[in-house]
Amino acid sequence: MTVVDDAVQQCRDLLDLLPAEALARAQERHPRVAGFAVFPVYAPVEIIHAAGLMPLGLFGVGNKLEITNADSRFQSFICSIAKSTLELFLRNEMKGFTGAVFSSICDVARNLASVAGRNAPGMYLEYLHLPQSSPTEACREFTRSEFRRFRDNLGARTGRPITDDAVARSLGLYNRVRALTRQLYQERRHRPGVLSAAELFTVAQACTRLMPEDAIPLLEDLAASLPMRKPVSRDCVRVVIEGSFCEQPPIELIEAIEAAGCHVVDDDLVVGWRLFRHDVPAGPDPVAALADAYVADSCYTSVRFNAAQPRTTGLLRRAKDAGADAVVFAAAKFCEPALLDYVLFRKALDEQGVPHLKIEFEEKMWTFDRLRTEVETFTESMLFE
């Protein structure tokens, strides 16, 4: 096995675990660290880490757990991540976690935070209001105060005030994780096939289940080994995947997209954990620096309004920068923010003559043949037109 194969395999193994099992795995190296779950899309993980906790991405449970209780609480027309996340809480599968944080991404996540809290009385659940406004001074002030509130509440909960020094240290670690992830994305963009989309997705998601101290060497090894790896070369359409910012598609879906003739050159998978476009300078007030970066240096997502950075412009630029020929819009079934955004995305792409294809997924999806055929028809129409 090469270094890359080995690292990807480690990541794949991590993703096969339930959150509490992934936490237990981390505790082998970091004894006694408690977990703190982060529901998508974004939360200031640095503050959690600085509290001596392990921030862990809470992306539902895929098909690792049968949903037996949560579907009586959340109706049939609600996205899978909400149900599978609640299932974890209802089944007391969040052992070892001090709490979890949700944010103002959509109506479902908001109600989920409340319902999960009611059903897990011992857990500390926090809800962040991430601003839906342009980067004005008022917005910046509000976001700073919101991040400070989170810091103070978390410090009060653990009984250890969170110092600026600790946040600055954590920020340094996460800056490194994000920079290395950006590097992998960059590498893939320039040499598509050197790292498949499924592989990169696996790594990016696994990093949400690793302490940053452990993610860094893994990513460094990967980054160092990639230049030696020979890209798989095929006739492919270069595509951007858009719409998978919250609930994550099954890995087989990404594999099917690739097998159907696509080189994925950029995507918004696990985007909340790699949101910032640049390193965040800690400065004298690292919490304020983080808030400012959220306001002014994060990439666009479907869960944030920012008049200074319309999402349609963001997607067109993402496609252009990646040299993409097309966009595959992959949304979680019933995901209101993604499905509503498709309307303006589609309009903008049509106006610019960028071909696009829309597909929907859910966690429990198990057959990908029809989807693969759909993508194949799409790519063939582009390759042989």
């Binding site: 103002s104 109600n111 839906q132 342009s134 349609t312 079934k333 509503l340 309307v343 303006l344 589609r346």
Partner: protein
């Protein structure tokens, strides 16, 4: 984050003599409905006129809105939610929903958005249509994230400037001073935008006058709703609330709306004094959660009337404001009180568990026998997690609870036979329970 389910205080209490009477019961819907129709028609006529006469107009959302600021500049408010509601209730929504789906909306998106966008794209808004094209789009993001997308899309498709007012969700017991400051800063930006649009200077005394009318209407709302604590209840606080929701949400801040509530309260008070109820017999008192199925409003209502069930409270009626729990706009603190209302005193910007507390207060203080949850596919703000709500009320509080599903806009999701079966079975079991427990017949019912 607050998860308490402690019931909030109720602002006004009116006890009523339970005196069954056959008089005037038939008229109840007529009088207040007509009063409401008069003021609402007047506003609609202004909207119609504004299509051509150049009156400045602005889009606004219902939930926790700041209509008073627009009114202060004589900007005519236009509510696309009311447009969607009217399309549905007149059974005209489906073609527009389909039209919206043609341009990319998913079958699972909120159908209020789809109906309104379909209508707009079919020429319903602007010179050729019935609704004026807005000159400004004001997105009061109070709870519902769909609001943001909806108005962004309106702004993009009609090329109209958008002012976003980001209202932090209530995540502690109270909004923090920083939350209030943030909202007030945005209200000031809105004021500047209104000044630019109209060329007029902001007049805070005018805003105070407007807010005094708001407070009067809010007082009337609270009084009317507290009258439903009487047995029998003078009006159905779910189905008939729609008569009060137009004036309180769209026309708040006008003398006409304040007068409307004076008239409505006087009428309902008289009914209570005479012991006249919404139905000629009141057998069951229910609280209803969730928006109604507007395309089948009448049918749905009949399914409850048949069982002589009257809604004594409803959560849907409080999307704009929870006035029955005491909040009033304050002319002495104009912008602060507008900010506080947007942040705190409406259903949409509060957690599910706070909604449970609201319903619990309704059940206990309005003396309800049961809770009915109408779960709508379109509106996840309301519906996501209602299964847990049912669990809480049945298992933890022992309140009989019925949950039915359809939609507030899309007629394709209403299955009459199934709906009827569920509702009949529920009331049959309530009736059986009552007989078994030998409970006395409720006041107002026939022997």
């Amino acid at each position: 984050m607050t998860t308490g389910t402690k019931a909030p205080p109720v602002s006004a209490t009116v006890s009523a003599p339970a005196k069954p009477s056959a008089s005037a019961a038939r008229d109840y819907r007529g009088v207040v409905h007509d009063l409401s129709k008069t003021v609402m028609t007047d506003w609609m006529n202004q909207l119609q006129a504004a299509v051509h006469d150049g009156t400045p107009t602005a889009y606004l959302m219902i939930s926790g809105n700041c209509v008073e600021i627009l009114r202060c500049f004589d900007i005519l408010p236009v509510f696309p939610e009311i447009n969607a509601l009217q399309l549905a209730i007149r059974k005209k929504a489906l073609p527009y929903i389909l039209k919206a789906e043609e341009i990319g909306y998913a079958s699972d998106n909120c159908a209020y958005v789809k109906a309104d966008m379909g209508y707009t794209l079919s020429g319903g808004v602007g010179e050729e249509g019935t609704m004026p094209k807005p000159r400004l789009i004001v997105c009061n993001f109070v709870g519902c994230n769909v609001y943001i997308k909806w108005f962004e899309q309106c702004a993009a498709m009609m090329d109209v400037p958008l002012t976003m007012i980001d209202i932090p969700f209530v995540r502690e017991n109270q909004p923090s001073p920083d939350d209030v400051r943030y909202v007030m800063a945005q209200l000031r930006t809105l004021i500047e935008d209104c000044e630019k649009l109209t060329g007029r200077k902001f007049d805070i005394d005018r805003l105070r006058e407007i807010l005094a009318y708001s407070a009067r209407a809010e007082e009337g709302w609270a009084l009317a709703k507290s009258l439903c604590r009487a047995r029998p209840s003078p009006f159905d606080c779910y189905f008939d609330s729609i008569n009060m929701m137009g004036p309180i949400n769209a026309l708040r801040g006008t003398k006409a709306a304040a007068d409307f509530f004076d008239g409505a309260v006087a009428h309902y008070q008289k009914m209570v004094d005479e012991g006249v109820g919404a139905l000629d017999e009141e057998k069951f008192r229910i609280v209803v959660e969730g928006p109604p199925p507007y395309p089948y409003y009448r049918n749905f209502r009949n399914l409850f009337e048949k069982w002589k069930a009257v809604a004594v409270q409803s959560t849907y009626s409080t999307v704009g404001g929870t006035w029955e729990f005491g909040f009033r706009h304050d002319p002495e603190r104009p912008l602060e009180s507008i900010a506080e209302q947007m942040l705190m005193h409406n259903l949409c910007n509060r957690t599910m568990t706070e909604r449970y507390a609201q319903i619990r207060a309704y059940v206990e203080r309005w003396h309800a026998d049961a809770l009915v949850i109408h779960s709508v596919k379109s509106c996840r703000l309301f519906s996501a997690g209602q299964g847990d709500m049912r669990e809480y009320f049945t298992k933890e509080l022992g309140v009989p609870t019925l949950m039915v599903e359809s939609d507030l806009e899309d007629p394709r999701y209403y299955a009459e036979a199934q709906m009827k079966n569920r509702i009949d079975a529920f009331f049959e079991s309530l009736e059986y329970k009552r007989i078994r427990e030998g409970a006395p017949q409720p006041a107002g019912s026939q022997p």
